[in-house]
Symmetry: C2
Subunit: 203 residues, 2 copies
């Protein structure tokens, strides 16, 4: 079966989101990255920042954990039993499933590979890069200082790893979860887009 | 810099070794898989079976662990301080480094990605496959019964994971260690060979 849906998971600073956007443009299909965050925020009623941050990261933020526990307690009392982040996860999942049903598209991040794991019309991509390339991108495009970038990138990826592990019980970045993993530090943005397109032509 | 050396790590049953052989043939360069095992056995004086098994796997075999501990104790007393498996690992490493220095080639397994990590002229590939495809290959080509294949494959990969973790302190199969990871269950043998060749042409 031809692959209609491409999910792209990516390390922070690897250019994976941009690869997703470029790929979608070349294939003439929509790319759901910020657009997906907007949709989830609109549907859930959560703030955009909250959806962006908590929709694919688990951090050790004390304030968030307190707020989340309070909501959890309230939800348990009202029979719901979900934390804020759980609620967000399930709304996000439903939207991702609806998108995959509706039209061919590229979906960036948000555990989409796991959410759509049962579908036969998806191809799951993971983009990584070497430290040097990630730091260069972070300083050039994400407005990070050379001093701060290493710890910020590490922290963000750790939070993605924790989120994925918590909701999927799988290891984020383990080749077993993807059909193709690429080092964008070696291949560049164009190279990655070309290789994914080539893979799509193979089957 | 053009990539002269391709290392291929692979899950048991993924066809990774065959992909390495096919790729080498198409590129007109040697493939070191069984050939490497022969060379290591010859140089180390260890039996072929021992090199094949212990050169990329750590199992919980009681007999091996006792023999290894005894050798380790003897070696410590004589000032060497290495277990049998350590000795094998270091001889194997030296041979892999010599091969990479000598000529363009494909090297299958044996932590070659880690051993050659400092070289800029290598590309590191990991081949995985879904369970169903691996079982089919195992029954068809490796003479395993349908009943036994799942546990044998799992055990072999676990032993490779342990070996890699022990000697490299990295996770075997984690995308971060490779330039490209492919699902041979999706792409097939030909597809994987084609994609690796395409990647080699990209840079």
């Amino acid at each position: 079966m031809r692959k209609r849906i491409i999910t792209i998971s990516r390390q922070c600073g690897s250019g994976g989101r941009y690869i997703g956007q470029r790929l979608a443009k070349e294939l003439g299909i929509p790319c759901y990255d910020e657009k997906l965050i907007d949709m989830v925020a609109k549907e859930s009623g959560f703030a955009l920042d909250f959806v962006e941050e908590k929709g694919e990261r688990i951090t050790g933020s004390l304030l968030f954990n307190i707020a989340s526990s309070l909501t959890y307690a309230t939800n348990v009392l009202s029979g719901n039993g979900m934390s804020l982040q759980d609620e967000l996860y399930f709304i996000q999942n439903r939207i991702i499933k609806d998108l995959a049903e509706k039209e061919p598209c590229v979906i960036v991040g948000r555990c989409a590979d796991y959410v759509l794991r049962e579908r036969k019309d998806c191809i799951h991509v993971f983009i990584r890069a070497d430290e040097k390339s990630k730091l260069e991108r972070a300083v050039k495009y994400y407005d990070m200082s050379e001093k701060d970038a290493p710890s910020i990138l590490k922290k963000k990826d750790k939070a993605r790893y924790n989120h994925y592990k918590y909701y999927t019980d799988q290891e984020w970045g383990m080749a077993d979860n993807y059909d193709i993993c690429l080092n964008s530090g070696l291949l560049g943005i164009d190279g990655c887009v070309n290789v994914i397109k080539y893979v799509l032509e193979q089957e």
